[in-house]
């Protein structure tokens, strides 16, 4: 993979969420969840501060429960690697309203920048495709990010997967709420569900 022309993660995420309308977005543990907050807090943002490897499965549960809503998982390469099996689970269920965007800086940025498996060997697009997610894209340009952001709203043609090559710059942290109950109940409230 060429290291030239790597994208800026904040620009990628703000483009993915720019015209989000009714999208429910899940941010994987690590910088991805901060990027989502940096793009603007939203009642339908599901920020994760733990449960590494679980972001895509939370997306699947939500997508199956709300088949008419576009659901977008935004996570990192390390978080996705920890939940690789979930791509097989999603490939089997084929929720047409679920999209997954991996921000791939080929490193564990939160823990000191140790290289991840995608830096040399692991091809997440190949894995997603081989798991039955036919629309799996290797994204290296902002035009491709914009095209993916538009596709997220087509709830009849998913699941879809994008691996977005980003630079490994460590950016100022924009921290969302850490109160999981608040985050989850805010989403439920926005979807019209009452507290128990």
């Amino acid at each position: 993979m060429s290291k030239a022309n790597l994208l800026d993660r904040r620009q990628v995420v703000s483009t993915l969420l720019a015209n989000r309308k009714d999208v429910v977005a899940i941010g994987g543990l690590g910088a991805s969840t901060n990027d989502m907050c940096a793009a603007g807090d939203h009642a339908r943002n599901f920020y994760l501060w733990g449960g590494m490897g679980g972001a895509a499965m939370i997306g699947l549960g939500l997508a199956l429960a709300q088949p008419r809503l576009p659901v977008l998982v935004i996570t990192g390469d390390g978080e996705m690697l920890m939940g690789l099996g979930s791509l097989a689970t999603i490939g089997l269920q084929k929720p047409s309203n679920l999209s997954i965007a991996v921000l791939d800086n080929e490193a564990y940025g939160e823990t000191g920048g140790q290289t991840s498996h995608t830096s040399v060997a692991a091809d997440l697009v190949g894995v997603a495709k081989a798991c039955g997610i036919a629309d799996s894209r290797a994204v290296t340009t902002m035009a491709e990010v914009e095209a993916f952001a538009k596709a997220v709203h087509d709830i009849s043609a998913g699941p879809r997967f994008a691996n977005v090559k980003i630079d490994s710059a460590s950016l100022e942290r924009i921290l969302p709420s850490r109160d999981g109950t608040y985050i989850l109940n805010r989403i439920r409230g926005d979807l019209g569900f009452q507290p128990i």
């Binding site: 599901f46 733990g50 449960g51 679980g54 939370i58 549960g61 429960a65 979807l191």
Partner: protein, 180 residues
């Protein structure tokens, strides 16, 4: 070839009792890693028009799935065997943090006449792992007590958001044996 020692001749009815309870509590998503002890219940779920059976590659996927399901307004239940409980440990931390209804039904191995020593370590610690992780444990050891235990478990899990695991004992499901 594997066979259940005391379940080979007649299919048990207790899985039907479980299915009926789950239906009454409006459970919609049923993630599972297959187990012989759950096979009848899984088949009932896959044949159902209101429940969606979701095969997993590893049990922790199911914990995360149930969090997402609840965010989207649906209840779920995780089916697994005792060896899968260890796979879930870190993901169980989502339950107190997010406070979503969590019910899991666990078929037990590594107890009551177990022939496979490799099942024993995880089977012996299953209850302890749940309790250390903040999940209350109920147990059903005979077919007769399944309906009442399921009713209590579903009620406290869905109405009181009390994370609950039901251990379906090997005595109930029948110890696995080798036959030639």
């Amino acid at each position: 070839m594997h066979a259940r020692a005391d379940a080979a001749d007649t299919a048990p009815n207790w899985p039907d009792d479980i299915f009926a309870t789950l239906q009454r509590f409006d459970v919609r998503q049923v993630p599972y890693v297959p187990d012989a002890g759950h096979s009848k219940l899984i088949q009932r779920v896959l044949d159902s028009s209101t429940m969606r059976g979701i095969p997993l590659t590893t049990e922790e996927e199911g914990v995360a799935l149930l969090a997402g399901a609840w965010a989207g307004g649906q209840r779920g239940v995780l089916l697994m065997q005792s060896s899968g409980v260890g796979n879930c440990i870190n993901m169980l931390s989502l339950i107190p943090i997010l406070r979503f209804p969590f019910l899991t039904l666990v078929t037990m191995r590594g107890e009551w006449g177990e022939f496979n020593p490799w099942q024993v370590p995880m089977g012996s610690t299953t209850q302890g792992v749940f309790e250390l992780s903040g999940v209350q444990v109920l147990r059903a050891s005979s077919a007769a007590e399944v309906p009442a235990v399921l009713e209590a478990a579903a009620s406290q899990a869905y109405n009181a958001l009390t994370p609950t695991a039901v251990l379906l004992s090997q005595r109930l499901i029948g110890a696995k044996v080798f036959t030639k």
